[in-house]
């Protein structure tokens, strides 16, 4: 049987939680009828400001939260079907913001072994998976280090290795770079990109950094529990006004081209990289200056 090309299918999902305030017990809605399909091998960014529902959405992808209404299918399995919860969690691995709070063991390789050990895998096979996972995030030579001796970026790569060791088809990363310095962010981003390109792992990256979203194949923008934009980075970043309205930035170069266009200069939509922007401006300036 041919495998479904959709690894995750979110169908009309709504989610509300009960307020913890005892005086004011009511349901607080977070997601409103969200539908979204993630295909195998995709590299998708989910962009939105804090409170836009993006993290809540992420938690629906591996049974941490179950939809109040609607259905989430992971590899064709309904997440409400409690019987397969561990299959789903193996298929869709989750990496969180604070690397410190997801590392369990006192030695890097022991931590990476944690998930396969939970799955009851044979010791020799675990060893193999741990070595592979550490190699794929470039942390093999730190396998015997203690986590607290590592930098933030390195810790986050260990956390990613801990998920990769389950051999998931998809990883969901919930703001994995929010607590890192620029160097750590670069390390983590290039690791994620490599896992997507070379290992074919589907990646869902929850973020509010525009430059990270610009590196993905597809960008989904959430606001007030709804999906408001979905397309390639170029398409999405063409909507400068809308993005600013929902409290998001656009890359500086995108904003510059947008401003120039507003001033009547002819430029293409959705410029997102420095090189592209410099090329277009060079063309423009040379044309104008040679007319002298």
């Amino acid at each position: 049987m041919e495998k479904d090309s959709k690894i995750i299918s979110i169908q009309n999902v709504s989610f509300s939680y009960e307020s913890t305030d005892p005086d004011n017990q009511q349901l607080i809605p977070v997601l409103h009828g969200v539908s979204l399909d993630i295909h195998r091998g995709e590299f998708v960014a989910v962009l939105g400001h804090n409170g836009s529902g993006k993290s809540t959405l992420a938690k629906h992808l591996n049974c941490i939260l179950l939809p109040t209404e609607g259905t989430v299918f992971v590899d064709g399995i309904d997440t409400k079907d409690g019987e397969f919860i561990y299959d789903i969690r193996q298929t869709v691995g989750m990496v969180f913001q604070n690397p410190d709070n997801q590392i369990v063991a006192t030695i890097v390789e022991e931590d990476v072994a944690f998930a396969p050990e939970n799955l009851g895998i044979e010791p020799a096979e675990i060893r193999q998976r741990v070595d592979d996972a550490l190699n794929s995030v470039g942390m093999y030579k730190y396998r015997e280090s203690a986590p607290h001796q590592l930098s933030g970026g390195q810790k986050q790569r260990v956390a990613i290795a801990g998920i990769i060791a389950m051999r998931p088809a998809c990883i969901v990363l919930d703001e994995p770079t929010a607590m890192l310095d620029p160097k750590g962010r670069r390390e983590v981003m290039s690791t994620i990109r490599r896992l997507n390109r070379e290992n074919g792992i589907t990646v869902v990256l929850i973020t509010h950094y525009m430059d990270e979203a610009a590196q993905c194949d597809r960008v989904v923008v959430t606001d007030s529990g709804k999906i408001i934009l979905d397309g390639t980075p170029k398409e999405v970043f063409s909507n400068v006004e809308l993005l600013k309205d929902v409290g998001l930035d656009v890359p500086q170069v995108t904003e510059l081209t947008y401003e120039l266009k507003k001033a009547g200069i002819e430029l293409p939509d959705g410029i997102i990289s420095v090189e592209e922007c410099a090329d277009k401006l060079e063309e423009l300036l040379r044309a104008a200056l040679s007319e002298k």
Binding site: H49, N50, Q97, M179, D181, I265, A278, L285, A288, K292
Partner: protein, 290 residues
């Protein structure tokens, strides 16, 4: 006279052990009142160690820190009183909140200074206003607030001490663009209203480009550059080779410059870039018309 000055300031961790590491190496610098200085440097460049010596949390291995012309570690100097003059907001300051209410938490600093009564109340209200906290928040527990609100309470806790010098270590870390802009805008307003010295440690070159008047670049435990923001970002290439990311716009303009186009240097914000491009295009247009 410089309000904050260092002379041959050096700080070494674990001296005399195999882990010996000099984090701040012979730093001489002067900061004037009224500046908003952005401090840039990658992790481990020594910027955190530097700022912790400014308010006496770390005692220099050698060298001197002068605040208002006074050596802060002189024999008769009172280090606690110095800390009231030099307010330091740490990274993720929301993790230091502990009181039952927002109001009480903001009061902690000024109360430690011995301030009571109306004066205390006035300071709390003033500080809360600076960070946009309304009265309805005062009686809430700080732990009930959102992440951005918690951070603003923590910043207000330092502002309420009315420091002459305010130092903020990455006040926007982990916030979304909206929260980032809000806090930076408030810091800028505070700076404008008080006219004091504000030091802002940030990884975001875009933020420093937009908000700071001067920029200090730390590299390898030393001061690499201390100059106006324009002049610092004119060295975009060098910043990049240090592992720092210059603003996208300055990268675009240094590319244009390299390709032999007559663009001016020191352009790093969208507004300035737009002006410059429009000016150049208009020039071309004029030439055409003649």
């Amino acid at each position: 006279m410089a309000i904050l000055k260092t002379e041959n300031l050096t700080y070494t961790y674990s001296p005399g052990t195999p882990y010996e590491h000099t984090a701040v190496d012979n730093v001489n610098i002067e900061f004037e009142k009224g500046e908003l200085v952005g401090i840039i440097g990658h992790t481990g460049s020594g910027k955190s160690t530097l700022i912790q010596q400014f308010n006496g949390l770390l005692r220099p291995t050698s060298g001197t820190v002068f605040v208002d012309g006074q050596d802060i570690w002189a024999k008769n100097a009172k280090i606690r009183e110095l800390r009231f003059k030099v307010g330091l907001v740490f990274q993720y300051p929301e993790y230091q909140l502990f009181e039952e209410t927002v109001y009480k938490d903001i009061a902690f600093g000024p109360k430690n200074m011995g301030i009571t009564g109306d004066e205390l109340d006035a300071r709390i209200r003033e500080a809360a206003a600076f960070v946009g906290l309304r009265e309805e928040h005062f009686e809430k527990s700080p732990f009930e607030l959102s992440g951005g609100q918690k951070r603003r309470v923590a910043i207000a806790g330092v502002l309420a001490m009315r420091p002459e010098i305010l130092i903020l270590d990455e006040p926007t870390a982990g916030l979304d663009p909206k929260g980032r802009e809000r806090i930076l805008g408030q810091i800028k307003d505070y700076h404008k209203q008080t006219g004091g010295l504000v030091l802002l440690v940030s990884h975001s070159m875009e933020d420093i480009a937009r908000y700071a008047t001067k920029a200090l670049v730390m590299n390898d435990s030393k001061i690499y550059m201390y100059d106006t923001v324009d002049n610092v970002f004119a060295h975009a290439q060098e910043l990049r080779s240090m592992g720092l990311s210059a603003p996208q716009i300055s990268s675009v303009f240094s590319l244009l410059e390299q390709r032999g186009l007559p663009v001016s240097s020191g352009i790093y914000t969208v507004e300035k870039a737009k002006e410059e491009i429009l000016k150049l295009l208009a020039k071309g247009g004029e030439g055409n018309a003649q």
